[in-house]
């Protein structure tokens, strides 16, 4: 029985640990995942170049097409930022599309439009936050399951939107609001600035503030967060309010794109937002996710949509491909679970 093995393993060991901590700020795994999404984007663009070489040889068209993709991504991107927070915090918000519709309709009633663009924006944000707070109260203090509470809200808010609008399309007469989508600033569409601002704010909020830290803690292990002195209920409420706020912003953006609002607007946005967040590496059971990942998820989707549009393909095909991508992303995530026990312990957290 010889217990003597090579002795000088101590050195490389320390080395490796130091190296690892070097670029470990955002967890290497997440970084790999994001690089993967960038790769997917690159592939999509290459497909675009191959299928439509005549378009891609035109420099101004390429520039404009990039902005088209970004504008396409802007509204859903804003919603996805809020959704990412909710999911990291261990919840889910199925009512985002309905909140957008309600906020859009409410802010374009004749009475609200009398107050001018400021009043309309205020109204949209207030309605978004208000509905989010109701969601939060039901979930945090009423102890409803998030899925059920926001599902109910999804139905109710759309109903209310239809009631308010009388099922009519309400035209926005505010040139300021309508101009948001129509105008550029320094050659870049205004909506893209809004998306950039929301993403930047979301990133800072998640990674640099106590709010973000609490979100990760609450979603990662509710009991641990609670016993560490974090006010879990209040935080949960704030998360849904934040999601509502993002929906309010999105409602203004969507209204400006269509120059109008109606109860059926933002249909199925909840699915797009959830799918984008999940593809971006947000764990559906909470505790892990990044804003950058979610943004990349949104961009992948809007690039696909764009790709189909320039090739004049139907939305049916488009939806099928989208579905395939969602499945692929979830499959990749499940491979990450090393063992069954880990899988179960993750699930336990969400169900409790």
């Amino acid at each position: 029985m010889t217990a003597t093995t090579t002795a000088p393993v101590q050195e490389p060991e320390k080395h490796a640990a130091a190296k690892q901590s070097w670029w470990r700020d955002d967890s290497t795994e997440q970084m790999r995942r994001n690089l993967g999404l960038v790769g997917v984007l690159a592939v999509l663009i290459v497909i675009g170049i191959i299928t439509k070489p005549e378009l891609y040889s035109d420099g101004t068209w390429v520039r404009n097409n990039i902005f088209t993709i970004l504008e396409l991504a802007s509204v859903i991107g804003v919603v996805t930022v809020g959704m990412t927070f909710v999911i990291i915090g261990g919840g889910i918000d199925l009512s985002v599309g309905a909140i957008i519709a309600l906020a859009g309709v409410w802010s374009t009633t004749l009475a609200t439009q009398d107050f001018g663009p400021g009043g309309m924006i205020f109204c949209a944000l207030a309605v978004g936050i208000g509905v989010g707070v109701v969601n939060g109260i039901l979930i945090a203090y009423g102890r409803l399951v998030a899925f059920i509470a926001t599902l109910a809200m999804m139905v109710a808010a759309r109903g209310l939107a239809a009631q308010i609008s009388g099922k009519q399309t309400q035209v926005s007469t505010s040139s300021f609001i309508n101009g948001l989508a129509a105008n550029d600033f320094l050659g870049v569409p205004v909506l893209v600035y809004i998306l950039a601002a929301v993403v930047a704010a979301g990133w800072v909020l998640l990674n640099r503030t106590t709010f973000g830290r609490r979100t990760v803690a609450v979603g990662g292990n509710v009991e641990a967060a609670r016993l560490a002195g974090i006010n879990v209920k209040r935080h949960t409420l704030l998360l849904y309010a934040l999601s509502g706020l993002c929906c309010g912003i999105a409602a203004v953006m969507l209204t400006s794109q269509a120059n109008s609002a109606q109860a059926a607007m933002a249909n199925l946005y909840e699915l797009d937002a959830i799918a984008a967040a999940i593809i971006g590496g947000t764990l559906l059971s909470g505790g892990r996710g990044t804003i950058i990942g979610s943004l990349l998820g949104v961009l992948v989707f809007s690039t696909i949509t764009n790709l189909f549009a320039i090739n004049n393909l139907s939305t049916e095909v488009q939806n099928m491909v989208k579905g395939g991508i969602i499945v692929a992303a979830v499959l990749i995530q499940q491979v990450q679970f090393k063992s069954l026990s880990q899988f179960f312990s993750k699930n336990k957290i969400t169900t409790s």
Binding site: A3, T5, E13, A17, Q20, T210, F211, E223, L227
Partner: protein, 522 residues
Amino acid sequence: MTEAQAPEPQATEAQEGQVVLRLTDVVKTFPGVRALDGVQLEVRAGEVHCLLGQNGAGKSTLIKVLAGVHRPDEGQIEWLGQDFAPANPQAAMKAGIATIYQELDLVEDLSVAENAFLGHEPKVFGFVRRGYMARHTREILGKLGHAEIPPSRLVRSLPAAGKQVVSMARALSHDARLIIMDEPSAVLAHDEVANLFRIIRGLTAQGIAVIYISHRLEEIREIGDRVTVLKDGRTTAANLPARSTPTRDLVSRMTGRTIEYVFPEPAPAVSGAEELLRVEGLTRSGEFADVSLSVHSGEIVGIAGLVGSGRSELLETIFGARRAEAGTVRMAGKVLRPGSVSAAVRAGLGMAPEERKSQALLLGEPIYRNVTLSTFGDYARVGFTNAGRELAEANRIADQLDLRPRDVRRAVRTLSGGNQQKVVVGRWLLGDTRLLLLDEPTRGVDVGARAELYQVIRDLAAQGVGVLLVSSEVPEVLGMADRVLVMREGRMVHEAPAGQIDEDTVLDLVMAGSLQVEEVTI
């Protein structure tokens, strides 16, 4: 390393069973860590083979290699005379190796029986034979001395010790030739450990080999036949006789130094210290009733009692994690809002809970963020976290508690069990906690780190922090506390200054009527 050449097992032990398991030069690396670095191990049929080693020495990694959870990078494993490389845990179980893991791996929302037979449910035509499963589970539980646990009960509703019994039942539900137990006694109280040993003796009498891991040397002396010591992933001594090897030898082979296994000297009592905590008539039906106690500034108060006597529930209620049905908790004279942890934390309370994995840790997050989980808000400036300060504070705690590996940016998940425990306790050593509630703070912590942890607690008390300590280990309560409270069946039955009570008295008080207690609580 010539002195590591262990004397071959002296023939004092009666059984000279066949070698069933032999490991040669097994190596396992994780990113940045060489967890196993040439391990030798030899286990005979019918023996209790103990594994000793500091936190992070590689014990759990070793048994996970045997159980098919990890694949070794190098080295040979020989099981029953043949090369053995289990592809997954099922394969290891089929081959006759059953494992009770350090971190309980039960599915909380399944029943006791379903957990016991998870992965190998008895079936006819694809349908689970529920009746058979329940009967068989009841039989095993009976053998384990816990016939009172109904097989249909949800595991979620069991206390920690009950869960431990269920994982034991799972191990026994296989026809195993080797049963591996990774710190099974960490959650068990005195009488439960005796029960565990009775079961182990029954197993070895049938020729089943047992690998037993524990940080409590007394247990190894009592139940073990031979000992293998690991240090930094290497075997530093193999096959020492468990009973006759001097403690000094064992400790120095584990740690590479000698540690006096004693408690630090208590600080001289400060007379007229301010009363910090006053609990009056606290009650939660089914858990504890009419509990009153007080803790003064700079005082360490220990609570002794069996698992299930309501100690953990009492601490959680004081902390506001459970809502009291009657009674008040006063901190420095002010009544705390019942059922509000945030209020308790604001008033200066801190609690290291009993179950580190489910109650305390964010496993995927870095160590430093876990250490500062309750204080990051204090270091923040207008809502912006201060990563530099957090890292500095976490590093200080890591030094104090001898955390290994020392890199506080690693995910907590990659730490060994004992090191995770240090993170849980370390969290409350930060910040301006004035009263610490410690529930089994040294669970799974090795001999050396334990002494350091005791010293840290003493130092805190010397600075005026009050401590309320719950522990299943009576010597720990007696060694650390200034005042000892004994709890039984949810009631305080005795109170005495630590100098005026001895271990036997405490055990007598604790055990009286314990059989009835268990029937109610488990």
